[in-house]
Structures are given as C-alpha cells and as structure tokens.
Symmetry: C2
Subunit: 290 residues, 2 copies
C-alpha cells in the first residue's frame, strides 16, 4: 500500500494558512483567534487541546485556553460559552469533549454561536452540511476529503464504504462523499454494528473509511486490491516493546495490508493531523467572515 | 407484489390525529392551526396546497391560505414569513415550492422559525435529523418510515438502497434508515446519477427506495424477489385512454413487478398521501409544543 501522508499534508496546509495570515496581517487585519474550553484533567483531552494551541502558534493565530474545574455546573459552563460568543476578539472556539456527567454536552454544543462553531458540531452546521449549504464542517471528515483531493484520488462513480455512523465522522463522511462535488459523487454504503455480510460489502469498496474505534477490525481479507483505505481509528493497545507499554493503532490491520496494492492512511500520521489542519482552516474562515 | 396502501394508512393516521385534536379541544386547548403560503398560479402547487388545506379540515385543524402574487418581491415574501413567525395563532406553516425566479428560495426557507417549520426544511431541523436529535422531519421520508412501521417490515440489518440524493427525500431517507432505531438499523447504499453498476446494487436491496423522478426507471430485472419497493416518484406521462390524455406514474415499473414476490407502494396511493399525514402530524406536534 502507498502511504497517504496526513502529517506532511497537514503541515503543508498549515504553511498555507500561515502565509495567508501574514498576508492578512500585512493588509491590516488582526490575527485569527481560536479559543478552547477544557473541563477537568483528562490527560487525552489535555493532549488534544495542547496540540491545537501549539498549531495556532505555528500558523500565527492568537489562542486562548479556558481551563475549568471538573466540578463546574452546567450553567457556569454555559456562561463561559456565552462569554466567548460575545467576545469580539474570539473568531472561533471549541469545547473539548468529553464533558463530565453533570453536564448535558448537547446543550453546551448548541449554545455555541454557529458562526464561531469551528468544530462544526452545532445542528445548524450539521444541517448546512446535510443540505449542501456553506457552513463549518467537522474537521475529521473535512480532513479526509482534503486528503483525497490533494492525493488526486478519483472519487466520482466509485463505491465508498463507511464503517461507522457517528455524528462526527460516519454520518458527515457519507454526506460529503455522496454529494455532487469533487471529491464526491461516490456511491456510498453506510455500515454499522447491525450490518450483515460486512466482509462482502467492504470487499466491494473502492474507498473504505473505518471509523468504529476497534483496533485492527479491518483485516486484509476485507479489502479489495487497489482500494483506498482511510483509517480513522485511534486506539491505544498494549505493546511490551514500548517504554510506555502501549502504542497507538488504527481500526485497520495496516501491517497485514502492506503488500496489497492501494493507498492507506497510517495511524498515527494519517487522519489525525488533518483534523488539526481543518480546525485551523475553519478558524481562518471564521476570522474572514467576522 | 403485495400493495402497501399509503392512502388507507394516511386516512388511518388522520383519524388518529382527529381524535387527538378532539381530546385536546375537550381539555380546553385550541385547535392546531396550519398556514400555507402560495406564490403565483402554478396549477400543481395549487392542487398540493388544496389537498393540505382540505386535510386540515378533515382532522379538525384551523388553516390559513396566504395567496401571493407571482410578482412579489423577496423582501415582501420575507415580511409575510415574519408575520406568520410572530403570529401566536399559527402553530406551523409551509411555503409551497417552487418559488418564482426573483426569489431566493433557500433564504425564505431559512427565515421560517424552526419551531414552526413543519416541512422540516430549515437547516436546524435538517441538522437535528442528521444528529439524531428531536425536530421536524421532512414529510416524505418520515411517511415512508411510518409505512414500514405500520406494515411491520423488518429493517434491522437489511440492505436499503436509496436512488436519489435530494435534500428532501434521498438524503434524509438515508439518515433515517441507517440510524440506530426501529425502523432503522439498515445498511444503506445511496445511489445517484453517477453510480456505476446500478442494477447490481439494486438487486441486492431488501428495501429499495426510488426517488429520482424518472417514470419506470426501476425495471423488474433490477428488483430482488421479496424486496420492499418504495416508489416516491410522481411523474405525469401521456395516456390516450384517459380523458386528460395523461396519467400519474411512479419511478418503478409496478405492472412489470406485479407477479414478483415482495411489497410495493403504488403511485398514486402510496407515498404521496403519507406526506400529507406527516405534515399534519408535525403540525399537531408543533401545537403541542407551543
């Protein structure tokens, strides 16, 4: 399999964004400004948010990290969201998930002003995507579309099979790949835990997107030679050869596929870095519109 | 094929709605009130709106028809929408499509208050559907789900093939059939004009939804014996045996399928009448929430 290098592509996009920011600042505009709200001390969440803040620095954005206690009440969190909604200095912001149990995450996501919702999680942005209208798209599926585009992968008339129907990956991926656009115009089959004869379906895929969160779920016998395999999974599995005792792996048995003809996104270094690039791109767009 | 009788099912639902209205009125509530805006003199549009108003009378709703000139300006139409948004007597309303060329239909649909958007066309309602959240669903796909439910058709794990990717039928149908619900939990394949090997795909369908607007596009060789065929097409074709010289027909060659095992929705009398029932249901729900 040929590697689709998400890390290099992400860095190339970040370079383009950096140049665009410099151009705008030279024209007298202010720097784009991304804020992130993080609640509690979940190490994975802290790491994700840290990557995002660092990426802001790399491209010349301003950034603000709002750190809140694990014990915060929903109303207090909604007040913080409202403050960012109303702050003219902030172009876009995210609320890092998951949120603690005392908080209705959906209510918080719906409180974010759609024009600052650079994660694309607000129903109005989900609706715009579903209707083919402009709006912020969730970073992971948007990043996959960008990878297909930059690797000049033909999608029109191809059969895309999506494993997973989540609101942030599987569902928007289905919508984006099926729409009348380029990349797009795929015949798309959406699969999930109730799907029967899954192997047969995945073997007919020209483009296979795995977004189920199960390590090495996609085995070589499930993949058609020549297919483009997009591995969205980020799973931590035991690995005695690592100092930490664990390593990251995808939903696809990439090692088993190494001798098969086709393309694959590695884990790490595939889809993951693209989500950061697309978050920055959304923030750049938000700044241009504000 | 066994007939799925949309007309009888629609009338049964309308009876249920009528009883519910009587119950509510007996409890001191006001009657639900649906308004419809119609622009110009398109005979098909007038007929559709006429059916909707008549159905309101049948179930005991109040109704208001707002008839506007073909030459109305967009701003004037937006004022009419705003007036209905603000009128506490109106529970829900629709803007009959198509609209004349001088009007940006999307802008008008987005001006409808989401809580009165009983057609389910506002982006926030499309987004709620996409995210699996409560909201008004477009009447045609919601009507199909209701038919599958009332005919006790098993959908979990079945392969549904959707022909057409429109915002009001194909796309929401894909989302509703794939979600984790009953009816739902289908593996769904979304096909469109760019799909290759279409016949092969449709022959694998346990549930086949045709929503492309081409008379008799689905021929018997495209259908697996035992399949459930949902015909959304409403096409007017020449017919010298009719007084009008034309008749209505679907996207499916139903006559050719008559000896095949399975289920089919006829045209007319299948999906069409269900859209009216679901519009009334949405209006009843809007009244309950207001």
């Amino acid at each position: 399999m040929q590697i689709i290098d998400g890390k290099a592509t992400s860095l190339a996009i970040q370079d383009e964004i950096k140049e665009e920011v410099q151009r705008r600042v030279a024209d007298g505009a202010k720097k784009p400004h991304l804020a992130a709200i993080i609640v509690g001390d979940n190490p994975a969440s802290r790491a994700y948010v840290g990557h995002k803040i660092k990426a802001c620095e790399r491209v010349g954005f301003d950034s603000t990290l709002v750190e809140l206690s694990e014990n915060i009440l929903e109303e207090q969190l909604l007040d913080e969201v409202q403050a960012l909604n109303e702050d003219p200095a902030i172009d876009g912001f995210i609320v890092q998930l998951p949120l603690p149990d005392q908080i209705d995450a959906q209510r918080v996501l719906e409180a974010v002003l759609p024009s600052k919702d650079v994660d694309g999680f607000h129903p109005i942005n989900a609706g715009n995507l579903s209707l083919g209208l402009p709006g912020f798209q969730p970073a992971t599926p948007a990043g996959i579309i960008e990878l297909l585009k930059r690797y000049s992968i033909e999608t029109s008339g191809k059969h895309a099979v999506i494993l997973g129907r989540s609101a942030i990956v599987g569902t928007p991926m289905t919508l984006l790949l099926s729409r009348n656009a380029n990349p797009g115009n795929c015949t798309v089959t959406m699969c999930h835990s109730r799907t029967q004869n899954l192997d047969e379906i995945t073997r007919s895929a020209d483009i296979l997107v795995a977004a189920i969160g199960r390590p090495h779920f996609v085995t070589p016998d499930m993949v058609k030679p020549g297919a483009v395999v997009i591995d969205v999974g980020i799973n931590r599995i035991p690995d005695a050869t690592k100092k930490s005792g664990t390593r990251l792996t995808g939903d696809v048995d990439a090692e088993g596929l190494s001798d098969v003809d086709g393309h694959i996104t590695p884990v790490p270094g595939g889809v993951g870095p693209m989500t950061i690039a697309m978050l920055l791109k959304n923030t750049l767009d938000a700044a241009a519109q504000s």
